[in-house]
């Protein structure tokens, strides 16, 4: 996994609640058996005026001028501001893959759906939960000033606004360590292989019917 330490990035606002993973990456792109290449189809139905198909040349498709991420001022954004319950719905990890491939490294919002939240960490994408009022203020500032950037420091657990205000955020210590170091979960877990084996043996003895 790609480590994440610090980022000074351009911010884009996506001002709607309950953005589901179907919207982040529509189902037709789930037919891929790869992990990469989903970025051009992130938010496909909102972003383009036609219906996207896997394998199509996205550079030739008509963009929806009303979709916020299509505005010139947000090109190259690495931080996405979101509203409540971002990433709800399907468990598809294609959603964080698409966001990451699009160029995002940080998501900031008042709440995220559980599975999506988990999946993000596995892909070097940092979702940050802040108070709704704090998020509101970021939306206001971002929309008011073109080229709005934030500095995110994972080790210090802070977001610094252009006006100098620093906002602290929470993160599980274990997730933080993994992300800072880019550790592979599986490798970490396998350090406990003996414990897993012992647990399994005991379970097999006690509940043989789960091991048919």
């Amino acid at each position: 996994m790609k480590p994440f330490t610090q980022l000074d990035g351009l911010v884009a606002p996506l001002d709607r609640a309950n953005v589901d993973t179907d919207a982040i990456i529509p189902k037709q792109f789930l037919k891929s058996i790869k992990r990469s290449g989903f970025g051009p189809n992130a938010f496909d139905e909102w972003r383009y005026l036609d219906v996207g198909q896997p394998g199509a040349d996205n550079s030739k498709r008509p963009l929806n001028p009303d979709f916020v991420l299509n505005q010139a001022r947000y090109q190259g954004a690495q931080i996405l501001l979101t509203r409540d319950n971002f990433g709800c719905g399907s468990s598809r990890e294609h959603a964080p893959w698409a966001l990451e491939d699009y160029g995002f490294r940080v998501l900031i919002g008042p709440s995220f759906a559980d599975i999506f939240f988990n999946n993000s960490f596995k892909n070097g994408l940092l979702p940050i939960k802040l108070d709704a009022a704090e998020v509101d203020e970021l939306f206001r500032q971002c929309e008011a000033s073109e080229g709005y950037r934030l500095k995110v420091d994972l080790a210090a657990q802070t977001i610094t606004r252009p006006d100098g205000k620093s906002i602290a955020f929470d993160i599980d210590p274990f997730r933080k360590e993994c992300l800072l170091n880019g550790w592979d979960d599986i490798g970490l877990t396998l350090r406990h292989a003996d414990k897993i084996r012992a647990f399994e043996e005991q379970r097999r003895a006690q509940h043989p019917y789960y091991f048919a």
Binding site: D20, D114, N118, K122, F174
Partner: protein
């Protein structure tokens, strides 16, 4: 001993290791696999030179991409075919307890085949790269939907990294009215607590109305726990659970059955167990439900109206409603029963089991599809459900009513195969998600029960099934 919730019992019996911050490794008993979320996991495993930890935990099927008609022609879409063939090859290579490939007699939607084969048992931890894995919690097991990285993690280690959830009890007491089904109960719950109401919780359903439900009904409710934000839904084990599991192919047999049942009877929340949150709902207050928007919480009763955004003060909510009405092509204050439908879909892991089909057939019997309705798809959840329905003659009722009787699969629940809505088409659907584009780009989905879907099919608009 302190009174425990079912969730606490299941959690504590699976913790292998715990980090200082409470992140735990929990052991996984059953790993369900389907073609969409597994290819990258198998590939990752191979690239890292790892082997699956315990192939006997794997039960796999192909369901999302498979066509529901003309099986003799195979899978026409080459991209879908490649995904299904990739699963075939992966399972062939690594092995499994059971694999129900495309066209197998027991193939079907992953959340239907697990329980009906007895591969989902009380007391287990069950995972699948699919958010509706919450369905299996109906059996008193801890069932989580996971992402593809986690699928790979479970394949490689037989464990999942998890933090303990908080506990939420939804207690539904009383007796459901005539024509009110499990689907209406869960939609009413989501309408009440919202799509994020269960986020961070394991959501247990209890109370006399839940106890009175069949396993099919309980599965419908747990299926949509994820739609309320909860990763896991739960119902305690009782005689209904045990009766359902007896003599299923992978259920324990003989002395092991006795031993298992002994243990399973302890799998319920103890009297006096404390939950972090409790929501109480009276069964008598629940009426048939219809969603009007683009999120399952955008729901009302069949005698209700489309809401008026002008009456909502919170600007984010108001905009959400305005956007939903625009997408859905609906005017504020329209009575629900004035909304006509173009298509009807009866199927999905929410409502494609035998009981669902019986409910739909009871409404369809002796009636026929309204002329204004273009198509009514009935898609059984599995090959076994299909055969059972045919043995009962349900398919003849559907066919006589002008409905289409299809092969099992996910079908128009997410429209990854050829079954889908055209832009602007409106559908009464028994599935679980009414998100924009879910059933086809530009398609408009209204979530309802199987009986309400059949009622819409024969009248051409949403209709109170109790009045039919």
């Amino acid at each position: 001993m302190k009174a425990q919730t079912l969730y606490e019992k299941l959690w504590s019996s699976h913790v292998v290791h715990e980090e200082a911050d409470g992140t735990a490794l929990i052991y996984i008993d059953r790993h369900l696999v389907h073609e969409v979320t597994s290819p990258q996991a198998f590939e990752g495993l191979k690239l890292a030179g790892r082997k699956p930890w315990r192939v006997g935990s794997i039960v796999a099927t192909a369901d999302h991409n498979t066509p529901t008609d003309h099986w003799d022609l195979g899978i026409q879409d080459p991209v879908s075919r490649q995904q299904v063939e990739t699963l075939d090859a992966n399972i062939r290579e690594v092995g499994s307890l059971a694999y129900f490939p495309f066209k197998d007699a027991r193939q079907g939607i992953v959340h239907v085949i697990g329980p009906e084969n007895g591969a989902t048992l009380p007391g287990m931890t069950v995972v699948c790269g699919d958010s509706h894995t919450s369905t299996h919690g109906a059996f008193g097991c801890l069932a989580h939907g996971i992402g593809t990285s986690e699928v790979e993690h479970v394949l490689a280690t037989q464990c999942l990294l998890q933090k303990k959830s908080r506990t939420l009890l939804i207690r539904v007491d009383g007796q459901l009215g005539r024509g009110v089904t499990a689907k209406d109960v869960v939609l009413a719950i989501i309408g009440r607590i919202g799509t994020a109401g269960g986020t961070g919780y394991a959501m247990e359903f209890g109370g006399s109305a839940i106890r009175a439900l069949s396993m099919e009904g309980r599965m419908t409710i747990c299926n949509m726990a994820i739609e309320a934000g909860a990763r896991a839904g739960l119902v305690g084990v009782d005689e209904t659970t045990i009766e359902y599991l007896k003599d299923r192919p992978f259920s324990p047999k003989g002395a092991q059955w006795e031993q298992a049942v002994d243990y399973w009877r302890s799998l319920h929340s103890d009297e006096g167990a404390e939950f972090d949150k409790v929501v109480e709902i009276k069964a008598e207050d629940i009426l048939p439900q219809v969603t009007w928007g683009t999120s399952p919480e955008m729901v009302t009763t069949v005698d209700g109206r489309v809401p008026d955004p002008a009456a909502v003060t919170d600007p984010v909510r108001r905009e959400g409603i305005e956007r939903a009405l625009k997408y859905m092509g609906l005017e504020a204050n329209t009575p629900i029963t004035d909304i006509p439908v173009d298509q009807v879909f009866i199927g999905s892991c929410t409502n494609s089991r035998i009981e669902d089909l019986r409910e739909a057939a009871a409404v369809a019997k002796g009636r026929s599809k309204a002329a204004s309705v273009k198509r009514v798809l009935v898609v059984p959840g599995s090959g076994l459900v299909k055969r059972q329905a045919e043995a009962e003659g349900l398919h003849e009722i559907f066919l006589a009513a002008g409905f289409e009787w299809r092969e099992p699969g996910c079908s128009m629940c997410l429209a990854m195969n050829a079954d889908r809505l055209e832009p602007g088409e409106r559908c009464a659907s028994t599935s679980n998600r009414n998100f924009e584009g879910r059933q086809g780009a530009g398609g408009r989905t209204h979530l309802v029960s199987p009986a309400m879907a059949a009622a819409a099919a024969v009248t051409g608009r949403f209709t109170d099934v109790r009045a039919l």
